[in-house]
């Protein structure tokens, strides 16, 4: 029996080989789909994780913890408490201390608001010179802080006023550090703005060992426990419970909790959702097409064996023998091909993960993939058996004569079901509600429509071609007439038409989807980045960023300073140089400039070497130091302190500011204690002398304000051409030594533009926000957008200069950027660096778009791309199987016509018009199907994108058909064939 089966396979060698390949491709598709989907899902998660900000990969817990027994013990107690709520091993706990304070030089005139931090391992995350501090009062200080404090080398000492400590600490510098350029991407810092070291930042943390706190006389510490997800293999489904537990623990124990995990989870979920919608479409299409083609080819082979089976019945061959003889060859071929298919599927996905994902990690063959391959094989075998059975079900006499089976009701039912599905999907697409389910249906509707048109073509092609062929023959047009007749009556021709239609439509849809995804990725990249190129930079301060940008691009043609910060309620703020919004496209700069940058009090600008404060002391008190804080022309902070003498009466206090010869903007005056007895009645500069504010201007209430953190505790009184302030702390345990008279030179409330409904402009829903840092400031929504450049969703747009002025801080913890427009010169980065900025990294639309194409829809689309390519390969194989099975009959037929007088010239043309004619005839229908599918997919066609793959598909199919026809023509022309045919 086996020999008979093998003999049957050898007899139809070409068809057997093609069937083998079809089986291999079908099983490969079955195995590849789950393998690829899993690999793509893993890649999507890894990609989102890799690109997530550190703050989104961690839970940062801060707790003001009383020191009991020892600082170490207090810290460990907190860690133990936190770990009870978050025991997951995938979370790495980084513990430390982050206390506020002021670093001062020996003269106490130079200072830096650097926090004092304990962070084990910090030395490995910065570029260090010297040694890592190990003993009490040893410190690792950033070079920019050292520079501010006037310390040039190691082993220097400086004073540190630790908040909560009655006595200042004397810290010894044992090491200095420069932050790594990508430090803002280092999850070690857990995205803590105050902790992340930044190039040029003066207020970088001072690192010290825990022993420093042990020896310091502090009652409490600000302990930090950062739970960091170190890898993408995190059980994200546990995140909800974890956050609930952590929130509860925070409420019970008074922790401050800050985590961006919901952002990461949301992004991962969105990527997965998009993948889950787009990937199955390609997968299901490929699998169904593979099975359909396989069963079609098997059915055609069965028709070739129809007569053999009938003879077997006549000769009384046993049923089981006939079963093996008729179905055995096909089933054996499929079974032999299955392992090759599984291997091919794995190899295909391996090649994809290597080339597309750049993933060289292991790709284990999963049981799901093997099961899917097994299911495909099983369905193929069942389909083959059922098809063979249907081929044998006609009258024996017809089987003996090779009469093709009649159209069966099951075929019509299948057509009807597909058409009904397509109509339902189209209806849902055109008229249904838009949600996740309808998005999936909308994706399926175009291909279902194409399949329906393909099936409709199989129904119409026979009668149409018969009518046409008959008419041509009656007119004596033998070649075209016979070609049309072949199309109408050649076995499998109608199915080839359907295959061509479906495959071409699939290719057309995929090409358009590919093009559209690329365009969407570019648009999304532009929306996310805000400009063609975005440079993340480091600068000493936000004004320094503004100044450097203006210096590099004085005319404002191509560079705009931007500062990004995440706000507390999930929105992201971008503070921009509003006048230069033209660098980012789509803004009416003039109107936004009026809205976001309205005229306000002119800043107080000092262009001299000294600032003279006219004061009146109502009574004699201890000498009072007053510090002036100014911003220099390059954005550098200028601070200087002078003493207001003890005696009562008028006095002019000169604060030397030699760095302000070219102009500084006064930010605030700071007093260490409440200056109840001091009245300020004038402000002027020296070197050269110039009056800045006279009495009435000085006494204008709108000219001054308190700092926002002490707004309720400081009272500013302006009367009789003088201004004075009084500080009454609300909590005597927290007495400020930085009581400020801030210059009011920014609008309050601060005008903002937001992404959101227009109603936000009318309501008080958004009336205050912390903006860059600290307590909330009043804001007013003056404009709403559907999307904002750089912050397409949940964005808040503000003016950088004004927002900085109300930040009440010269320190910057926000992300600094420079947006480059299309007119940026090639040496733009060099110019900006020459202006004093340090380049951290550069993002371009092209790079971001490339990354976008490898996420969500893009990953699913790659499966559709594979589906389309494999569908074309399957269709080619199907054409070859059909042609090979039919070749003997076609040759005999053409030889007969030739022997009866049809000239060789005509016979050759008829031979070449066989399957080539079928493919050519199918192409117009395919284009119609494409057009319908594109319409349903709402395609924005780009000829350059869709034409080449369509043309290639058409050509390759025509080539395969031509080759099959050419074999027939060559056989008809072969010498001696007529003798064989006659035998």
């Amino acid at each position: 029996m086996l020999r008979l089966v093998l003999a049957a396979l050898r007899y139809r060698g070409g068809a057997t080989l093609a069937l083998f390949l079809l089986g291999v491709v079908a099983v490969a598709a079955g195995v590849a789909v789950p393998l690829y989907t899993m690999a793509a899902d893993r890649f999507a998660v890894e990609s989102e994780f890799r690109h997530a900000a550190p703050v989104d990969r961690s839970i940062a817990i801060t707790s003001q913890t009383p020191v009991i027994d020892s600082v170490e013990y207090s810290l460990q107690t907190l860690v133990t408490e936190v770990r009870e709520s978050a025991p997951q091993q995938e979370l790495t706990a980084i513990t430390g201390i982050l206390n506020r304070g002021i670093a001062l030089d020996s003269t106490q005139e130079l200072w830096s608001a650097s926090p004092l931090a304990v962070r084990p391992g910090a030395c490995e995350h910065v570029r260090m010179t010297g040694k890592c501090p190990e003993a009490a009062n040893e410190a690792l200080v950033s070079t920019s802080t050292l520079s501010r404090l006037g310390l040039s080398g190691l082993d220097g000492e400086f004073r540190y006023n630790l908040a909560g400590s009655p006595e200042p600490l004397i810290l010894r510098v044992v090491g200095s550090y420069e932050p790594e350029l990508n430090t803002d991407r280092d999850s070690f810092w857990a995205g803590r703005p105050q902790l992340v070291p930044q190039p040029l930042r003066v207020a970088n943390p001072v690192f010290t060992p825990i022993q420093t706190f042990e020896t310091a006389d502090v009652e409490s510490i600000y302990a930090t426990v950062d739970l960091v997800i170190t890898g993408p293999d995190w059980p994200y489904e546990q995140l909800g419970d974890l956050r609930i537990d952590m929130t509860k623990a925070a409420a019970e124990n008074g922790y401050e909790l800050n985590d961006g995990l919901p952002f990461l989870l949301r992004n991962i979920q969105q990527a997965r959702d998009r993948l889950r919608i787009s990937a199955p479409l390609g997968a299901v299409t490929l699998l169904l097409l593979a099975l359909a083609i396989l069963i079609l080819a098997a059915g055609h082979l069965a028709r070739g064996r129809q007569r053999e089976n009938a003879l077997g019945v006549l000769r009384g061959t046993l049923g089981r023998h006939r079963f093996f003889l008729m179905r055995g060859p096909t089933l054996v071929v499929l079974l032999i091909g299955a392992p090759f298919g599984a291997a091919a599927g794995w190899l295909l996905v391996r090649a994809l993960t290597l080339t597309v994902f750049g993933d060289e990690g292991p790709l284990p063959m999963s049981w799901q993939a093997l099961a899917a391959g097994g299911v495909v094989l099983f369905l193929a075998m069942v389909g083959v058996v059922a098809t063979e059975r249907s081929r044998r079900s006609g009258p024996l006499l017809e089987a003996l004569r090779g009469v093709p089976p009649r159209q069966r009701r099951t075929g019509l039912i299948l057509d009807f079901v597909v058409a009904a599905l397509a109509l339902a999907a189209i209806g849902q697409t055109l008229f249904g509600e838009q949600n996740t389910t309808s998005a999936g249906v909308a994706l399926a509707a175009p291909i279902l429509a194409a399949v329906t048109l393909g099936l409709l073509a199989t129904r119409l092609v026979r009668p149409t071609a018969t009518l046409l062929g008959g008419a041509r023959l009656r007119r004596g047009r033998l070649v075209s007439g016979l070609a049309a007749i072949q199309l109408a009556r050649r076995p499998g021709a109608a199915q080839v038409v359907a295959l061509v239609v479906i495959c071409v439509a699939l290719v057309g849809l995929t090409a358009d989807a590919w093009d559209r995804t690329a365009r969407e990725a570019t648009a999304q990249a532009v929306a996310q980045l805000g400009a063609q190129q975005v440079l993340t930079v480091a600068a000493e301060s936000r004004p320094a960023l503004l100044a450097a940008t203006h210096k590099a691009d004085p005319e404002g043609k191509w560079a705009m300073a931007v500062s990004r910060a995440r706000l507390g309620h999930g929105r992201t703020m971008i503070a921009v140089d509003t006048a230069r919004l033209g660098v980012a496209s789509g803004y009416d700069t003039a109107q936004l400039l009026r809205q976001l940058h309205p005229p306000v009090n002119a800043p107080i600008v000092v262009q001299g070497t000294g600032l003279v404060l006219e004061t009146t002391l109502l009574e004699a008190v201890a000498p009072t130091p007053v510090t002036a804080v100014l911003l220099g022309p390059d954005g550098a902070t200028v601070t200087a302190t002078a003493l207001i003498a003890a005696q009562a009466g008028d006095q002019a206090v000169e604060i030397p500011v030699p760095a302000c010869a070219k102009g500084c903007r006064l930010a605030w005056f700071s007093f260490e204690r409440s200056p109840d007895e001091i009245q300020l009645k004038g402000l002027r500069q020296s070197g050269p002398d110039k009056v800045l504010l006279t009495g009435p201007a000085m006494a204008s209430a709108a000219r001054w304000r308190a700092s926002f953190d002490l707004a309720s505790e400081v009272t500013i009184t302006a009367k009789d051409d003088t201004v004075s302030l009084r500080y009454r702390p609300a909590d005597t345990r927290r007495i400020s030594r930085d009581i400020r008279l801030q210059v009011a030179d920014a609008p309050l409330p601060l005008p903002v533009a937001v992404v959101g409904p227009r109603e936000l402009e009318e309501t008080q829903e958004m009336s205050a926000d912390s903006l860059f840092t600290g307590v909330e400031r009043p804001i007013a929504v003056v404009r709403t957008f559907d999307s904002l450049a750089g912050v397409p969703a949940d964005g808040v747009l503000v003016d950088l200069e004004y927002t900085d002025r109300i930040a009440d801080s010269v320190d910057n913890a926000a992300e600094l950027q420079v947006w480059l427009g299309p007119a940026a010169p090639d040496d733009a980065i060099d110019r900006l660096q020459a202006a004093g900025l340090v380049l951290v990294r550069a993002d371009s639309v092209a790079e971001r778009a490339a990354r976008g194409r490898l996420s969500g829809d893009g990953l699913g689309l790659r499966l559709q791309l594979i589906a389309a390519a494999l569908a074309v390969a399957l269709a080619l194989l199907a054409i070859l199987v059909l042609a090979d099975t039919d070749r003997r009959n076609r040759v005999a037929e053409l030889v007969s016509l030739r022997e009866q007088g049809l000239s060789w010239h005509r016979v050759r043309r008829v031979a070449h018009a066989g399957y080539l004619g079928v493919v050519v005839a199918a192409l117009p229908v395919a284009l119609v199907a494409c057009a319908v599918a594109w319409w349903l997919a709402k395609a924005h066609l780009s000829l350059f994108s869709v034409a080449p793959p369509l043309l290639a598909t058409a050509l390759v199919m025509m080539a395969a058909a031509w080759w099959a026809d050419h074999r027939v023509a060559r056989a008809v022309a072969a010498p001696g064939l007529t003798a064989e045919a006659g035998q």
Binding site: R490, N889, E893, R898, E899, G901, S903, W904, T978, G982
Partner: protein, 220 residues
């Protein structure tokens, strides 16, 4: 319209080392029916193929009115009609289309071809089956369709290979009458058959035995 097809000492084989026909000579004359008889495998079909120009003899010649028949194309041009043993119909065409296509291919105008097709199918009793696909016809109907196609061509020489093998008595007689009518028209008709009754109605009979021939009736 009259011609003589002469076979002169031909030897034909499908392989170089064995001959199916050896040194066969026979003449088919215009207006006569020549029967070629013999048992199965005797070489009847091979002889008719050689006469039709479809097989080239290894030695000897086939001539028509003294001119050698070079190949099948030459034979077709000289109107040597061949009705092959297994009808040689194209299964994807209807009975009518099979006749029509060959008529047009042989130079008949489309209008005339339509008329002649109808007449020839009528003559073999297949007028109502003209629109049926060949594969839907019975074996006998297919054979008659092939005969109708051969008759429609009005050849100078008509070579009929076992054309009555699947016919019932009535249709066999009808076909023999039609072949006789062809002879009367002036055609030289050769009928390969193993049916003694069919052979009996012919004017001459060439009997083949193991590749050799013997004229058992008629003129040499």
């Amino acid at each position: 319209m009259s011609a003589t097809l002469a076979v002169e000492h031909i030897t034909v084989g499908y392989t170089s080392d064995s001959a199916v026909l050896r040194d066969i000579s026979v003449v088919a004359r215009a207006g006569e029916l020549l029967a070629v008889t013999g048992s199965s495998g005797a070489g009847k079909t091979t002889l008719l193929r050689a006469m039709a120009g479809s097989l080239r003899p290894s030695s000897g010649s086939v001539t028509m009115d003294g001119q050698p028949v070079r190949d099948r194309d030459d034979a077709i041009a000289r109107r040597i009609v061949w009705m092959p043993q297994h009808n040689g119909l194209a299964p994807i065409l209807t009975a009518g289309e099979n006749v029509h296509v060959i008529l047009v291919a042989n130079g008949t105008s489309p209008d005339d071809a339509r008329r002649i097709t109808a007449e020839s199918l009528e003559s073999v009793g297949l007028a109502e089956q003209a629109g049926q696909l060949v594969e839907e016809l019975s074996g006998g109907q297919q054979q008659r369709a092939a005969i109708a196609r051969g008759l429609a061509l009005r050849g100078v020489v008509v070579l009929a290979d076992e054309v009555t093998s699947e016919l019932d008595a009535v249709n066999r007689q009808r076909v023999l009458d039609l072949l006789r009518a062809e002879a009367r028209r002036g055609a030289a008709v050769v009928l390969a058959t193993h049916d003694p009754e069919a052979a009996a109605v012919c004017d001459a009979e060439l009997h083949l035995t193991d590749g050799t021939a013997e004229l058992v009736r008629g003129k040499a």
